[in-house]
């Protein structure tokens, strides 16, 4: 590992729980429904984070536990059964139903796997019922996707077909673009997981090479490995360098000639660098502080420091998986400070003390920091925006240069021309 300083901190945290992943998972798989088994708080969290009102009938909901469900677990299981059947009769288009565990359902130990098993027997394959936990006592924000994908793995058919499997939710357009680049390199068989339809799961076997698109898929990666797949080690496809190394790692693994890879990637790289230039000008030398939330903090810091010239004050991360992050940490500038976990008050003290130019943080903290004159970027935007790949590098940089540009427009007096 490089000279990064790894620290741990504990205390009050300000991080979403894994339920929040539903917000993008339901868009990725429109034939799936996510039913949280939880409290009114869970329902309120998801609707607050997702802007639910724009949907006539959203593809996610909450089975809200009531006083009497807490009294007897047997009844709670029957109740859930009833709620599920009700839902399925009203929504016949649902092909896969995820029962999503929450803090309260975990604490009272509702056995969602048993409920799912019984329902699968009763429904005879018309709908597949799966379960995972998105509870805040076990998972943060993006870890919910890890749980959902892990739950799908046992359903993946086996095959000996040689293929590249991209794992982690990508924007559809980005997925198409990356696939076409791999095709040009001669990797013909490229599939994605999660798929666009929950029922069209890719097959997997010893000839499957897995390339992770997102850094938060610890359990999914392990399960895929257990199924015989090979996990290609690479940094994550954010920025020009990260994406190039990521594509090259796959090409190497498929034994593709370096000269072919270079001839295809080099024009993309030089074009991307050109597009990146105006943002680099804006970002270069600016101080960046990343608060923990999406788990994308380390790859983002790597991109913003190495390719955009930002000075990293601190990288917060909800948790640190050293294996998955190894390639990323190796690329970080020396003496980079990585803090795993959080004490939000102490961390905000450090933010104020270091007077950063930009802070990446959650939605709850953004306006209070803006009110103190500190520009911010919401981390939740990273999981909604098409930011992966060489071609997207300038769009990714733009997400960070825009708040600085805006700050300059609105505060012309403090504008320092250079």
């Amino acid at each position: 590992m490089s000279g990064a300083t790894l620290l741990k901190e504990s205390g009050p945290r300000e991080v979403f729980c894994g339920l929040t992943s539903i917000v993008w998972l339901h868009r990725r798989m429109p034939d799936a429904f996510f039913l949280v088994v939880g409290s009114r708080t869970c329902a309120h969290l998801i609707q607050s984070a997702a802007g639910v009102m724009i949907f006539a009938e959203p593809r996610f909901g909450t089975a809200i536990l009531e006083e009497r469900d807490l009294a007897g677990l047997a009844d709670a299981h029957d109740e859930l059964n009833r709620v599920v059947k009700n839902l399925l009769s009203r929504r016949p288009e649902i092909k896969t139903l995820f029962l999503v565990g929450s803090c309260p359902s975990e604490v009272i130990k509702i056995d969602l796997s048993r409920v799912a098993e019984n329902l699968n027997i009763e429904l005879k394959g018309q709908v597949t019922v799966l379960n995972y936990s998105g509870s805040g006592i076990e998972t943060t924000f993006t870890q919910g996707e890890d749980g959902a994908l892990k739950a799908l793995i046992p359903l993946m058919p086996t095959s000996d077909q040689k293929k590249l499997l991209l794992v982690g939710t990508l924007a559809n357009a980005v997925e198409d673009r990356l696939t076409s680049i791999f095709n040009r390199l001669g990797i013909e068989n490229v599939e994605s997981f999660p798929p666009r339809q929950s029922t069209e799961l890719p097959s997997i076997g010893p000839e499957t090479k897995v390339l992770l698109t997102q850094p938060y898929l610890t359990d999914t990666a392990r399960e895929l490995k257990n199924k015989g797949a090979e996990i290609i080690e690479a940094p994550f496809p954010l920025g020009v360098t990260g994406s190039t190394l990521w594509i090259q790692a796959a090409a190497n693994s498929f034994g593709i000639e370096k000269s072919l890879v270079d001839s295809i990637l080099n024009p993309l790289i030089s074009r991307a660098k050109q597009a990146l230039a105006p943002h680099v000008e804006k970002l270069s030398g600016k101080k960046l502080f990343l608060l923990p939330e999406s788990q994308l903090e380390i790859p983002l810091a790597r991109f913003l420091s190495n390719e955009c010239g930002m000075e990293i004050i601190e990288i917060g991360t909800p948790y640190l998986n050293r294996d998955l992050m190894k390639a990323e940490i190796d690329l970080l500038p020396p003496d980079c400070r990585i803090v795993e976990g959080q004490h939000v008050e102490k961390q905000l003290d450090r933010v104020r003390d270091s007077s950063p130019d930009l802070v990446v943080c959650g939605m709850g903290l953004a306006n209070p920091l803006e009110a103190e004159g500190i520009s911010t970027k919401w981390s939740i935007e990273m999981v909604f925006s098409p930011i992966h790949g060489i071609d997207q590098a300038s769009d990714l940089a733009e997400l960070f240069s825009r708040p600085l540009r805006r700050h300059d427009i609105l505060n012309p007096k403090t504008f320092t021309s250079n």
Binding site: G11, P12, R13, E14, V15, F16, C17, L19, T20, S39, R40, T41, C42, A43, H44, L45, Q47, S48, A49, V52, M53, I54, A56, P58, G61, T62, A63, I64, L65, E66, E67, D69, L70, A76, E79, L80, R82, V83, N86, C103, P104, E106, V107, I108, S135, G136, I137, E138, T140, E345, G362, M363, G364, L365, A366, N367, P368, E370, A371, E372
Partner: protein, 525 residues
Amino acid sequence: MELTLWTYEGPPHIGAMRIATSMKKLHYVLHAPQGDTYADLLFTMIERRGSRPPVTYTTFQARDLGGDTAELVKGHLKEAVDRFNPEALLVGESCTAELIQDQPGSLAKGMGFNIPIVSLELPAYSKKENWGGSETFYQIVRNLLKDHSEESKQSWQEEKRRPRVNLLGPTLLGFRCRDDILEIQKLLGQHGIDINVVAPLGASPADIIRIPDADVNVCLYPEIAESTCIWLERNLNIPFTTTVPLGVGATQDFLRELHEVLGMEIPQSVNESNNSKLTWYSNSVDSNYLTGKRVFIFGDGTHALAAARIANEELGFKVVGLGTYSREMARKVRPAAKALGLEALITNDYLEVEEAIKETSPELVLGTQMERHSAKRLGIPCAVISTPMHVQDVPARYSPQMGWEGANVIFDDWVHPLMMGLEEHLIGMFKHDFEFVDGHQSHLGHLGGKGNQNVNQEVKTKISSDSTTSTAEPIWTNEGERELSKIPFFVRGKVRRNTENYARQAGCREINEETLYDAKAHYKA
């Protein structure tokens, strides 16, 4: 277990957070897992607050559950008091912490802090946000005033000073509370009545202790303040007003009630018609077209009740639906609906509300942001009158709902989504001209030509299914369809259903022009 796709109210600890964040120099230690910190964004994003809610979440994790979570809670309590140095501390738990029973309130009381500790018990599995807000405010007031000695208090007349009142109930994430307080302060100032304390919004624990200095409490938002007002009346002999000054009539009633309770003479100016422009605007000739406009009302109890009165008495609308998501207010909403010849809709299910809107075919919906979306889908204009809050409900401009200016705002907000009177008249005159595109609307909230397309599509599918399926269903003739198309699109669906019902009852196989008129006469009779 209840299947919920969307909910009007959050859990009760969100109500507690609304009180804590509305107040100053107060801190709330909430025993809750990390996901519950989402609640901060309600205040920093929806209300655009430039400061974090004064809330410390204990953010316990699964691995803490095996150990001593009580110690964890105590650590957070100590740190919060040291760091924030509040005048009083609220201690409570969210849904998950309620299950592990650490009793953080008792823990806090045993730690020797020299500030008042208010311990909250908010049953997360049976109660909701407004109840939690009301209970929290009540517990704060009770705790801070429990040692208040009721020494011989003198009336304002005896003390030879101006009367003074408290304004109780306004909170963050409450509908237009920020501006309502200013409007009511202005209104009472004009009548020589001073404001003693406004709470919870903007009040510190020290202000709460000053509550008994007032002669009367004004209960502005019963959802939050009624239980507190009742307690203050019973224990500290402070009477309170019950009229909520929303609309011209209610503002007049409120002023009369307040003057009476204070023992003041009611000034003639209260009854004058030019206090608010609503009265004249509603009387002006352009507003003739508002007569009998069908309006569907749904919201929190207070705003739904007020809207029904304003719609019915001050704008001359016809209220065709009235309901609330607030079960605590059902007792008041039911008789109000009955008085309008309706059955109140009491539900937390927005799909049920949408069904009710469809069923009643209103020309205007007054609802929450959710009804705004439902109405948009149905192509019906809508104005938002109630929480749950949306970033649009916190406008930059001064925009109260209460008092005289509030009535002005209400007139504009409710009438602008409708087509203007002269416009409607002209369209009525010229709608058979070839240039005229049916469904064209110049104003907000309409789908315009698009809404009409939907209706046309509906017509086409209906025709084709009729021609191929059962013979028991009455069939629309071309002549019948032509006549139907002349009916304004927003009532067309209802007329279609009614006519088909009539045709079935009357045993008609075909629906022609005459059947339409027969049905119309039948239902008018």
